[in-house]
Point group: C2
Chain length 466, copies 2
C-alpha cells in the first residue's frame, strides 16, 4: 500500500488543478470521505490541505454531517479560515457550533471585518458573546459595532478596511503614500475614497484614473462627480440596485453624520443579488432556504406553509360542498372541475411571477402599474377565450352534452380573466401596503382562482344544466 499513496495524492492534486475552478470532482470527494472512515489510510486526508479555499468550502458543504464533524475535528487537517465564510448560513452555524469558542475566535481573527461579522452574526447570542470575549480589542470593537446595524443592511455588508486620501494631495503624493503604507492597506481595493479633514466623503477615484495620470495632477481634479455614498442603515437589496444601476465597483458607507465608516465592494454585491433572487424563488414556492438543514427542522418549516395551504384548500372544498346536489346529478362536473381551477391557478401564477420580479427590480411602480394590470387582465381574458373554445369542444364531445361544454367555456373565461387581474393586482397591492409580495401572493392567488373557478363552473352548471 505504501507505494500507492504518493501516486494517488499526485493524481489527485493534478486532477484538482485540471478540473479547475468550477467544481471539485465527485470522485475526489469520495476519496476523502473514504480516507476519513479508514484509520490506516488516514494519510490521504492530508490531500484536503492542498485544496484551495473554494474547493475546501465545497468539500465541507457536500459531505454528510458526521464526516464534516470528523474532518474539522481532525488535528492533521488544516482548514483555511476563509473557507468557513464561503459556507451557506445554516451550514456556517452548524459547523462553527462544533468548535470551541477560542477556536472560532482564532478563525475570525484571520478574516476581514465584513467576513468576520458575517460568520458570527447568525450564532446563538451566548456562544457569540463567548467568542467576542476572546477576540483582540480591535476586532471586538468592529464586531460589536457591526452587530448594532440592522440585519441585511449596508452596515453589516461593509468592510472597515478602506483607503482614503485627502482632496488636496497630488497623484504623486498618493502613489508615494500607497507604496509606503503597502503592508497596512487592505488586501484588495478598487477605488480611492477622497475625504475632507472631518472624514466627510467628497468623492471616489477608480484606481485606473490614478495610474493614467501624471504625478503633478491634483487629486481633486480626478474625483468623479457622481458620488454614491451609502447610508449604513440602507437595506442590502437597495444597495445592490444602486450598484447595478450605476455600474459601481465599490462605494463608501457613511454614518448618520455622513462620515466615512467603511466600504462595500462589488463581490459582496454578487452574493446579495444571488441571495435576493433566490429568496424570491423560494418564497414564491412557500419554502425557506433549507438545503443544508436537518430533516426535522426542514419538515417543521415546510409544515407551516402547507398548513396555510390546507386552510385555503378547505375553503375551496366548502365552495364545492354548496353544490353537492348538483354534482350528485351530473357526476361529470366532479370530473371536469379540477381543470377549471388548475388553469386559473397556472395563468395567475404566470402573471404573478412576472409582477413579483418587476416589483423587486423596481421596473413596476405606480407610473406603469395601471397599464400593466390592464395588460395582464387582457392577456388572461384572451387566453380564457382560447381555452374556453378548446375545453368547451372537448367537454361537449366527451360527455355528449353541449350545455356542459358551454358551461365549462364560460367558467374558463371568467376564471382566467380573474386570474390575470389578481395575478398582478395582488403583488402590487401587497407592495403598496409595505408587505413582501413574494411571500404571500401565491397563496392568496390560488385561493382566489380555486374559489372563482369552482364557483363559476358549478354555479353556471346549477343554473343551466339542472
Amino acid at each position: 500500500m505504501s507505494e500507492s499513496v504518493p501516486s494517488i495524492s499526485e493524481e489527485f492534486i493534478e486532477e484538482a488543478a485540471a478540473t479547475g475552478p468550477v467544481c471539485l470532482s465527485d470522485e475526489s470527494i469520495k476519496e476523502i470521505i473514504d480516507a476519513l472512515h479508514d484509520e490506516e489510510e488516514n494519510s490521504h486526508l492530508l490531500l484536503v490541505n492542498s485544496l484551495n479555499i473554494p474547493d475546501t468550502a465545497e468539500l465541507l458543504s457536500k459531505i454528510p454531517a458526521e464526516d464534516r464533524k470528523a474532518l474539522i475535528k481532525n488535528r492533521r487537517v488544516k482548514i483555511d479560515p476563509q473557507a468557513y465564510s464561503y459556507l451557506d448560513d445554516d451550514l456556517k452555524k452548524s459547523t462553527l457550533c462544533l468548535l470551541s469558542p477560542s477556536r472560532v475566535a482564532g478563525i475570525i481573527s484571520e478574516l476581514d471585518s465584513d467576513d468576520a461579522l458575517d460568520l458570527i452574526e447568525n450564532l446563538d447570542e451566548e456562544f457569540q458573546q463567548e467568542i467576542i470575549r476572546k477576540l483582540s480589542a480591535k476586532m471586538r470593537v468592529a464586531i460589536e459595532e457591526g452587530l448594532t446595524f440592522p440585519e441585511e443592511s449596508a452596515g453589516r455588508l461593509m468592510q472597515r478596511e478602506y483607503v482614503a486620501v485627502p482632496q488636496f494631495w497630488t497623484v504623486g503624493k498618493t502613489i508615494d503614500y500607497l507604496r509606503a503604507a503597502a503592508n497596512d492597506l487592505p488586501s484588495e481595493f478598487y477605488d480611492l475614497i477622497i475625504i475632507d479633514p472631518t472624514y466627510h466623503v467628497i468623492g471616489e477615484i477608480p484606481l485606473n484614473r490614478i495610474l493614467r495620470s501624471k504625478r503633478q495632477q491634483k487629486i481633486e481634479e480626478l474625483t468623479l462627480d457622481d458620488l454614491h455614498t451609502i447610508p449604513a442603515e440602507m437595506d442590502q437589496e437597495e444597495v445592490a440596485l444602486i450598484f447595478r444601476r450605476e455600474g459601481l465597483n465599490s462605494a463608501p458607507v457613511v454614518d448618520a453624520e455622513n462620515r466615512l465608516i467603511g466600504v462595500i465592494t462589488v463581490d459582496d454585491i454578487l452574493d446579495v443579488i444571488d441571495e435576493e433572487a433566490q429568496e424570491d424563488i423560494l418564497k414564491l414556492a412557500g419554502v425557506e432556504s433549507d438545503f443544508y438543514r436537518a430533516i426535522l427542522s426542514t419538515t417543521g418549516s415546510r409544515f407551516r406553509w402547507l398548513f396555510v395551504n390546507l386552510i385555503t384548500a378547505i375553503v375551496a372544498s366548502i365552495v364545492i360542498s354548496f353544490f353537492d346536489a348538483t354534482i350528485e346529478q351530473v357526476v361529470a362536473l366532479a370530473i371536469l372541475m379540477p381543470i377549471v381551477a388548475s388553469m386559473g391557478g397556472n395563468a395567475g401564477t404566470q402573471a404573478l411571477t412576472v409582477a413579483v420580479r418587476a416589483l423587486a427590480t423596481k421596473e413596476l411602480s405606480s407610473t406603469n402599474a395601471v397599464r400593466i394590470i390592464g395588460k395582464e387582465t387582457i392577456v388572461g381574458f384572451l387566453n380564457g377565450v382560447g381555452f374556453a373554445v378548446i375545453m368547451g369542444v372537448i367537454a361537449a364531445l366527451w360527455f355528449q352534452n353541449e350545455t356542459l361544454g358551454a358551461v365549462i367555456a364560460g367558467a374558463m373565461v371568467i376564471n382566467l380573466f380573474v386570474a390575470g387581474l389578481a395575478g398582478v393586482a395582488i403583488p402590487v397591492f401587497l407592495d403598496k401596503i409595505g408587505s413582501d409580495p413574494a411571500l404571500s401572493s401565491t397563496v392568496l392567488l390560488t385561493t382566489i382562482t380555486d374559489i372563482v373557478g369552482f364557483f363559476a363552473f358549478l354555479g353556471l352548471a346549477s343554473i343551466f344544466l339542472i
Copy 2:
C-alpha cells in the same frame, strides 16, 4: 406661464439629484409625459437631456410605447447612446426598430464593443446587416466576430478593450506606458493582463498591487498565481459561477489557441447572475421574460405553457372519471379530492424549488444526490403523516364518517411521500439527461401529484367506503 418654466425645471433637476440613484420619481415621469402631449409646453421636454444615463433608461422603460416613440423621434431630445444598452432585451429591439439603420449605427459607434454587440445581437438579421454596413471598419469586424460566438457565451459578454503588458516590464515602465497611452485606454479597467509576445495569457495583476509597489519591481513578480482564463465558448452561467467562486473582478477571455481576445468584467457578471436567477424563477412558473412585450405576443407565449398544463389536467380528470360510480354514491369524495391533490402539489413544489436552485449553483451533484433525495422523501412522509392526522379528523367530523377520515388520511400520506420523492428526483433526473430542470419539472411534478392524489384517494374510497 413663462415664469413657471424655469422654476419647474430647476425643481425637477434638484429633485432628480435628491431622490438620487435608485429611482426616477413617478411624478417626474408624469411631468415629462405631459410635456410630450402638450405642444406648447414642449420646452419641458428638454429636462430629459439633464437626466443621467440610468434615469434616461428608466424613463424609456416606464412610459407607454407611443410616448417612447414620440420621445426618441423628437429632435430636441438628446438620448445618450449608453442609455439604450440599459434597456431590457425586448425593449431594446422594439425601440431600435423605430430608428433608421444609420441612426442605430451612430448609437453603436459610441459604445464599447460588448455593449455594441449586446445592442445589435437580438435585432432581425436584415436590419442587423443594414446597420453593420454603416459601421466603421473596426467596429464592423468586432461585431461580426462577436456574432460568431454562441449566444450567452463568454465571447458575447467580453469587451475587446483591455490593457495588457508584457511580463518583463517593471512597475515604473508600466505606469509610464499607462500615462502616455491614457487616451487610448478603455474607459475603465481593474486588472492588468500579463502576456507573452504571442499573446498567450501568463497572469493578471489587480491595479492596487501596481500602485503599492516600487517602480523597480518586476511585473512578473507581482503576477497572481491562480490564473482564471475563460474560453470564449464557455456558457455565461458557468462564467458567473467562476467569478463568484473565485471572487474575481475581471478575467481574460482566450480563443481556441489560448490567445487573449478580450476581457470580462464583474459588472457584466452582475447582469448575468440576475438574468439567470430571473430565468429560473420564470421558467418554474412557465412564463418567459415578457414584461415589456406587447399583449398579443405575451398571450401567445403564455398560451403554449397553459396548453401543456391543460393536457395534464385532462389526464388527471380521466383518472377521476374511472371512479365516477364511486363519486355518484359518495359526493363527499368530490368535495374533498382537490385537497389531496393540492397538498401534494404544494409539498412537491417546495422540494422541487430547493432542488432546482441547488442544481443551478452546483450545490447538488452526484455526491449528495442520493442523500438529498432520501431527505426530501422523509420530509414528505413526515408532513404526510402530520396532515393525514389533521385532515383525517376534519373529514371524519365534517361528514360524520370515520372511514372517510381514514381514507383521506391514507391518501395524504401516499401523495406527500410521492411528492417529496418526485419533487427532488424529477429535477435531478432532468439535469442528468442534460435537460433544463427549471423548464419542465413543474408540469411533470403536478401531473404526478394530481394523478397519484386522485388515484390514491378515490381508489382507497372505492375499496373501503363502498
